[in-house]
């Protein structure tokens, strides 16, 4: 058997068009030895969930800068449940007010990385928490 690999999907739900952060995170995960996919900007929650299914990823990172994170993240997490996707580690980043973080964590999103989070912190969080299939 070959060594298992962590496979991650970085996704951008909603309408904002800035993906410097999402790309920087993708790059950091790649350099940490993971297999990384990026959806591109302006994805619907349906697109993101279906991509996570077809690619059978271990990790899903959601990046949102538009302010619509509460409704979009909720939609993504409930669609994942509806489709019986299990064992997926979800984290988020972007412009997210502190007050929203506890509510986001209740949706099943394990960690939120606000602007200024060191990339190494994101990498080690995933390495610690992801279940490799």
């Amino acid at each position: 058997m070959q060594a298992k690999k962590i496979k991650a999907l970085i996704a951008k739900p909603g309408l904002d068009g800035h993906d410097r952060g999402a790309i920087a995170v993708s790059q950091a995960l790649r350099d940490a030895g993971m297999e990384v996919l990026y959806t591109g900007i302006r994805q619907t929650p349906q697109h993101i969930v279906e991509t996570a299914i077809q690619e059978d990823v271990d990790v899903l990172g959601l990046s949102c800068l538009s302010g619509a994170h509460m409704s979009l993240f909720k939609e993504v997490t409930s669609l994942l449940k509806k489709n019986k996707v299990k064992g997926l580690l979800i984290f988020a980043g972007g412009i997210i007010p502190d007050d929203d973080i506890p509510k986001i964590k209740k949706m099943g999103i394990k960690q939120v990385f606000p602007p200024g989070s060191p990339l190494s912190e994101i990498v080690s969080f995933i390495q610690k928490s992801a279940q490799k299939k």
Binding site: M1, Q2, K5, G33, L37, Y38, H47
Partner: protein
């Protein structure tokens, strides 16, 4: 769920199980490889098409357009898109899918990205097995997109029913087109980006230098895509009629068996290469006591 249960669900068209099963194949899970036996008898329906060419010529974008053509006819499409793993850290950025993302919600399309994970031919060691899974899942057409190293990537034509080489109008002059390699083993030459200047010249050069059919398309504008798809199907039908397809399919299995055996040999060799004795020999090389050919000769007796 066990691999055996996954295969049963794949036959019932369950996408989640198909995706999970391909992961196990990528990990070369022994139970999953065994369970493939249940899928193998259900294969043979899908047309397997390889797409190769240098990086940046628009293989994924062309595929994006071709998927549209196939799904117009209510057919099921499977895509396996391969991207390279890093030799330094093993990581990969799987960037093909982003060009085809608009098809994600189409229930007749299943796209899967795979990293090479140091496969010695620049494909994925799970490629042939993943095609078996997609075929049994009910795909009518399976597209394989290679990483795009270019000139000598002929392995793909041995694993597919037919393959095409995609070039851009700035591929080079007639001497480039004259070189051995890919232009001999594929079935179709496609020049993408014919919306760019000088593309007429490029097409003329290729037509002059090769025996293969040459077709110009533009993935960006959607030009000539349906003509290309018709051409592919025509070629496939001709292969089928002339029984060349049967010959090619037997050879595909043969190539897959050979590839698996080669991988076993290679992994044994990698163990051998880690042996301390090898380092001792290398040290003598540094002291200029021996030359590389002498050391090779000595080590080759121990293989």
């Amino acid at each position: 769920m066990t691999p055996k249960q996954l295969t049963q669900k794949i036959l019932k068209k369950d996408r989640l199980s198909l995706a999970r099963f391909i992961t196990l194949l990528e990990n070369r899970d022994t139970k999953a490889i065994e369970a493939l036996g249940d899928l193998y008898p259900k294969t043979g329906k899908a047309i397997r098409i390889g797409i190769t060419g240098p990086q940046g010529v628009g293989k994924s974008s062309l595929l994006n357009q071709l998927i549209k053509e196939v799904t117009k006819q209510k057919k099921k499409v499977g895509v396996l898109a391969i991207d390279p793993s890093s030799a330094l850290h093993g990581g990969a950025f799987l960037g093909d899918r982003i060009r085809m993302q608009s098809h994600t919600l189409n229930k007749n399309v299943f796209i899967r990205s795979m990293a090479t994970r140091h496969n010695h031919k620049g494909l994925s060691s799970a490629l042939h097995d993943a095609m078996t899974a997609l075929d049994a899942f009910g795909c009518d057409v399976i597209f394989i997109e290679t990483i795009g190293i270019g000139q000598d990537e002929i392995a793909i034509s041995q694993l597919t029913d037919l393959s095409m080489l995609v070039l851009s109008p700035d591929f080079g002059d007639k001497f480039q087109a004259l070189k051995s390699g890919l232009t001999e083993t594929c079935d179709l030459l496609v020049v993408n980006k014919i919306d760019l200047p000088k593309s007429k010249q490029a097409l003329a050069t290729l037509k002059e230098m090769t025996y293969l059919p040459v077709l110009g398309v533009s993935s960006k504008k959607g030009t000539q895509i349906s003509v290309l798809y018709k051409k592919i199907i025509q070629q496939y039908d001709a292969l089928k009629k002339s029984k060349v397809l049967d010959f090619r399919r037997t050879n595909q299995q043969k190539a897959a068996i050979r590839e698996k055996l080669e991988e076993t040999l290679l992994s044994n060799f990698n163990q051998f290469w880690k042996d301390k004795k090898i380092q001792l020999e290398i040290d003598r090389l540094l002291q200029k006591k021996k030359n590389p050919n002498q050391i090779t000769k000595k080590l080759s007796t121990k293989l």
